[in-house]
């Protein structure tokens, strides 16, 4: 009830005079084309973002990192030896402020990521293998404190074995097991201090690629030109209300922008019904031209 607080110790004074803007309230700008997907209009500093889904998770993670990179920040990518650097540059990451860290051994993974948090603006990590739940929480807490955005392109979507959870070589098999471990141990016993041997980071924001549709490629002709994504956003706090958006990543001119609403329904039906044949490719490309003109 008492509205008047009488500070009795120095600690209390410090509490009262603390800045009211916390790290999590500050956002880092993202590319204009992605702004519509973000609940805060940008990436909250210190947040942990997981990008998953089929067909475009890596590109979407790169595009998210491109905003802070263009604004003068450093981006470090850990454990993605398969990253297409040309694609990263095309997505808008700045050449001079991109560093790539080789996949650390499992017992050093958390240490390496922790060393980068706070020093660079965005850390992009690949699918984490054998990270203890305690480590994952500690990393997220460190990121929150230091204001570094941690982006994980989640397991199962990163690598190219066409059918999600891969089967085959030894490396892929461990990946598969890690995914399994997360689904059972990580999720169920997320709160327990002695979590399972593997866990993924707890996401403040989760972007899931629901559908991917390429344009420009026909039956034996053309080349990949534009990709249209349907992305679902979910998460905690302000991101708790799920949103869904469609965007070009990239469009035919290499730009990243949201899909203009009127043309979106038409193209979607095309994607689901006739996916093959010259007529489809031709007509779809023609239709693609219209939103481009509207925007530019």
């Amino acid at each position: 009830m008492a509205a008047v607080i009488n500070p009795t110790s120095l600690d209390e004074v410090a509490l009262l005079t603390r800045p009211v803007t916390l790290a999590r309230d500050q956002v880092v700008a993202v590319l204009a084309g992605l702004r519509g997907l973000m609940p805060d209009g940008g990436l909250p500093r210190g947040s942990t973002v997981i990008v998953d889904g089929d067909g475009a998770a890596t590109s979407l993670a790169l595009a998210l990192a491109a905003g802070p990179s263009a604004a003068g920040g450093w981006v470090a990518v850990v454990g993605r030896d398969d990253l297409g650097l040309a694609a990263a540059i095309e997505m808008g990451l700045v050449f001079e402020r991109l560093a790539l860290v080789a996949e650390p051994p499992p017992d050093q993974w958390a240490t390496v990521v922790a060393a980068l948090i706070g020093a660079v603006d965005v850390v992009v990590v690949g699918p984490a293998r054998r990270v203890r739940a305690a480590d994952a929480r500690r990393l997220a807490a460190r990121a929150r404190e230091r204001g570094t955005v941690l982006i994980q392109s989640a397991p199962g979507s990163g690598s190219g074995s066409g059918s999600g959870s891969g089967s085959g070589s030894a490396g892929r098999a461990t990946g598969g097991r890690a995914t399994g471990g997360r689904a059972t141990g990580g999720r169920a016993t997320g709160g327990a201090t002695t979590g399972g041997p593997t866990a993924t980071l707890e996401a403040d924001l989760r972007l899931t690629v629901v559908a991917t549709h390429w344009q420009g490629l026909g039956a034996g002709h053309g080349h990949l030109q534009a990709r249209r994504l349907t992305v679902e956003t979910s998460g905690r706090r302000r991101a708790a209300r799920p949103r869904r958006g469609e965007l070009w990543l990239p469009d035919r001119h290499g730009r990243i922008r949201p899909v203009a609403t009127d043309a979106s329904t038409d193209a979607r039906t095309d994607a689901s019904t006739g996916a093959c044949g010259g007529a489809y490719a031709g007509s779809d490309i023609d239709r693609l031209d219209d939103p481009c003109r509207e925007v530019s």
Partner: protein, 549 residues
């Protein structure tokens, strides 16, 4: 009055260090540009600054090496050790070039001419052992800038190459000899006919930009620059203008009155137990260099010349002075320690120390006011870069030096060839990087069009492609596909429908070189779930090269 200086310049040092005989065409490349080439390559029309394609076009037999500072520096130690028999104070500007002040040695060895001749003879003997006789040039002049150019002119004559500047300036001097003496007080006359492009040897902040502007203003030679009033150059170009003017007139880079006496600082560390491996010492050197940097920073100074002294248990010692036109950063000092010791510890048996290194000392020898790195008011970009650099060093400490890489543009057709990863310690993170993305505009016929795949498999993943009748799809020698691909199975996984495809795009690379020759055809496919892959077929086998993830 500029210090009378003798400079030893070994032409094409990077190529020599790569252990190539001079009659074999070879070139050393950095970021797809030739930085040095052998005389044989030069005869075929390869010049420094050329792109790799162009150079290989002029000279198909060209052997190409990647640039490696450490290799260059390690081998140069043998040359420096030879020059050291004349005077202990030697300054290494960069691998391939070292300088010494002639005042004492000249008197002892009977004058500049005699000294230069003897240095030349001894160094040439060392190089002849490597199979490169006549690659060295010696220049003596007032000031390191003029002496360096004199040596370059001399080396140019000796190596039989004659750039226009070298020919012009060199014809006046001792023709046919690899020694170029510029009489005292004649430096300005020697420099006058040289083009303004040579100012980049003088350590200006933006020499290329300055030279470019000067040429466009009609000032093509150093003589023309020297003839201008100094005040005008300062008014137009600031500090760089003043420095260019001083260099063009054959004076020291800095007026004598503004030279800051180096503080009496000496940073040393004892290594216990004595180290006989370079990386152990280099680790200690990093900490020492950081310390030096911090101390100088506090005084508002930056180091342009540093002496590195190493001592072994048995009392052998090796001291070298390293000079850099810009300021030496902590990382650069540590690099030089590594190069110096690498050359010493792994050098010839005659020079190699007999026990481990027990003491390492760094002495800042020449300092200037630090102007370059003003931190932003709220910890701006430079602070960010610093922080990132420290974190990368930490990660390198954890995972090894090759673990942290940065992208560098290299050029190529395949998705993984266009940009390569270079170790972070090989580049200056804060400076502008070579291999700019603008070079992407360079023509690479057959290159994949944008967008590029976001996942490039380090090892291609095997896959199978069949047509509607479940017969494997093939590509004929004429680049025709046998049937339309209908289904795809990656690494023996389940079959997925191919909903759209294009190809084959044949790529026939390096057909002139049988071992490196590759002939394959690429396809882009979109499979049922909306994923797109880049496939390639080579020798009848299908691979997933990259995925548009």
């Amino acid at each position: 009055m500029a210090v009378r200086t003798l400079v030893v310049h070994v032409g094409d040092w990077s190529v020599l260090a790569a252990k190539v005989p001079p009659d074999e065409p070879a070139a050393v490349l950095r970021a797809n540009r030739v930085v040095a080439c052998s005389p044989a390559a030069r005869r075929d029309g390869v010049v420094v600054g050329q792109r790799r394609r162009e150079a290989q076009g002029r000279c198909p037999a060209l052997v190409v090496f990647d640039h490696d500072d450490a290799r260059d520096a390690r081998l140069f130690e043998a040359v420096v050790a030879t020059v050291e028999s004349f005077t202990p104070r030697i300054e290494i500007s960069r691998p391939g070039v070292c300088a010494l002040a002639t005042r004492g040695p000249s008197r002892y060895f009977g004058g500049d001419r005699s000294l230069a001749d003897q240095v030349l003879e001894r160094v040439d003997a060392v190089l002849a052992d490597q199979g490169w006789p006549g690659a060295v040039g010696v220049g003596v002049a007032d000031g390191p800038f003029a002496a360096g150019l004199a040596a370059e002119v001399a080396a140019g004559l000796a190596a039989g190459s004659a750039g226009s500047a070298r020919a012009e300036a060199g014809s006046a001097g001792a023709a046919g000899s690899a020694v170029r003496l510029v009489a005292p007080d004649a430096s300005s006359a020697f420099l006058a006919p040289l083009p303004v492009g040579v100012l980049d040897r003088g350590g200006l902040a933006d020499a290329d930009g300055l030279a470019d502007v000067l040429v466009r203003l009609g000032l093509r030679t150093l003589g023309a620059v020297a003839a201008l009033p100094a005040a005008d150059l300062v008014a137009r170009f600031g500090l760089d203008g003043r420095m260019a003017h001083r260099l063009a007139r054959g004076l020291d880079e800095r007026p004598p009155d503004t030279r800051i006496p180096p503080p009496a600082l000496r940073f040393e560390t004892e290594i216990d137990p004595p180290a006989d491996r370079v990386d152990v010492v280099a680790f200690a050197a990093k900490a020492l260099a950081d310390d030096l940097h911090e101390q100088l920073d506090r005084r508002g100074l930056a180091c342009t010349r540093v002496a590195i002294l190493a001592e072994t248990e048995h009392g052998e010692s090796l001291e070298r002075v390293w000079r850099h036109e810009g300021a030496l950063a902590a990382g650069a000092i540590a690099d030089r320690v590594r190069w110096q010791l690498d050359g010493w510890l792994n050098g010839s048996a005659a020079h190699r120390p007999t026990s481990g290194i027990s003491l390492l000392a760094l002495v800042p020898d020449e300092v200037v006011a630090a102007t370059g790195r003003q931190l932003g008011f709220w910890g701006g970009e430079t602070a960010v870069d610093d922080r990132a650099e420290r974190a990368f060093a930490r990660v390198q400490g954890l995972l090894g030096p090759e673990a942290v890489t940065v992208p560098e543009w290299r050029g190529g057709r395949g998705p993984g060839e266009q940009i390569v990863r270079v170790p972070v310690h090989a580049v200056d993170l804060t400076g502008p990087r070579q291999g700019r993305p603008e070079m992407r505009a360079a023509p690479w016929p057959g290159r994949l069009p944008a967008p590029s795949p976001a996942v490039v498999h380090p090892e291609p993943v095997s896959c199978e492609v069949v047509d509607g009748e479940s017969i494997a799809v093939g590509v004929s020698g004429r680049g025709l596909v046998s049937a339309a691909p209908a289904r795809l199975s990656i690494r023996g996984g389940p079959w997925v429908e191919v909903s759209a495809w294009a190809g084959p795009w044949p790529v026939d690379e390096r057909w002139w070189d049988p071992p490196a020759h590759r002939r394959r055809a690429r396809f882009q496919v979109v499979v049922g779930d909306g994923r797109a892959h880049l496939l390639s077929v080579e020798g009848g086998r299908w691979w997933v090269e990259a995925t548009y993830d």
